[in-house]
């Protein structure tokens, strides 16, 4: 029972983290799309990749500030 609760907690933590990273990613990807001059395939791939890096960093920064 305890183990199951721990597992559920871990799962919900993971889902929350995933949701937060996805939300950051969406915002940053849209920002990238707005700020580039020409929209083509390369820019889309690059923007999606860079936005993912930024999203992970944004979550880390948010947690670092929130933990203060």
């Amino acid at each position: 029972m305890t183990r199951r609760t721990t597992l559920l907690h871990a799962l919900s933590d993971f889902l929350l983290a995933l949701f937060e990273v996805l939300a950051w990613w969406a915002v940053l990807a849209v920002l990238w799309l707005v700020l580039i001059s020409v929209v083509d395939a390369l820019e889309l791939v690059l923007g999606a990749a860079v936005a993912l890096v930024g999203a992970v960093a944004a979550r880390a920064a948010r947690r670092a500030v929130g933990a203060r």
Binding site: L33, V34, L35, S37, V39
Partner: protein
């Protein structure tokens, strides 16, 4: 020469001169506000120049300044926190005037650009510019939050 570049020149010459005067003379509380205002003024001037020369990519310069300018002011607010706490800036009328000028410039440039991604970029730049200026002037007037990580 056109209306855009003339307005930018007036803003840069008049406002820039006033800002330099404010930074170079008077008490600290006036100097920090003038330093913050110089950024608040340079950003819309850059937007005007980008429109005046029809080079939308020059908007990037304003975007970068809109990000870095308030951060520079926050550094001053932090480093001078004790002096500013004893003698805080009073009356932020000029800040509001500069913010109103920024908003008017963004609106005018948006109207000239027309709907599209370029307009969204201008709006993002304007939002960063105005919110950054307000956050920075608020930090100057009311002090930095006192966290446990201050090394004094």
């Amino acid at each position: 020469m056109n209306g855009w570049t003339v307005t930018a020149t007036v803003a840069l010459a008049g406002g820039g001169a006033a800002a330099v005067w404010g930074v170079a003379t008077g008490p600290l509380r006036r100097r920090v506000v003038a330093q913050n205002l110089s950024t608040t003024l340079a950003c819309p001037a850059l937007l005007l120049l980008a429109q005046g020369y029809r080079r939308p990519s020059y908007v990037d310069v304003a975007l970068v300044l809109a990000l870095l300018g308030p951060i520079g002011t926050l550094v001053f607010a932090r480093l001078l926190a004790e002096d500013l706490h004893e003698d805080p800036p009073i009356g932020l009328t000029l800040t509001w005037v500069a913010v109103a000028f920024s908003a008017a410039v963004v609106a005018a440039v948006c109207a000239a650009t027309g709907p599209g991604r370029a307009m969204v970029k201008l709006l993002v730049t304007g939002a960063l510019m105005i919110s950054g200026s307000l956050v920075a002037s608020r930090a100057l007037a009311r002090g930095m939050p006192k966290g446990g990580d201050r090394h004094e």
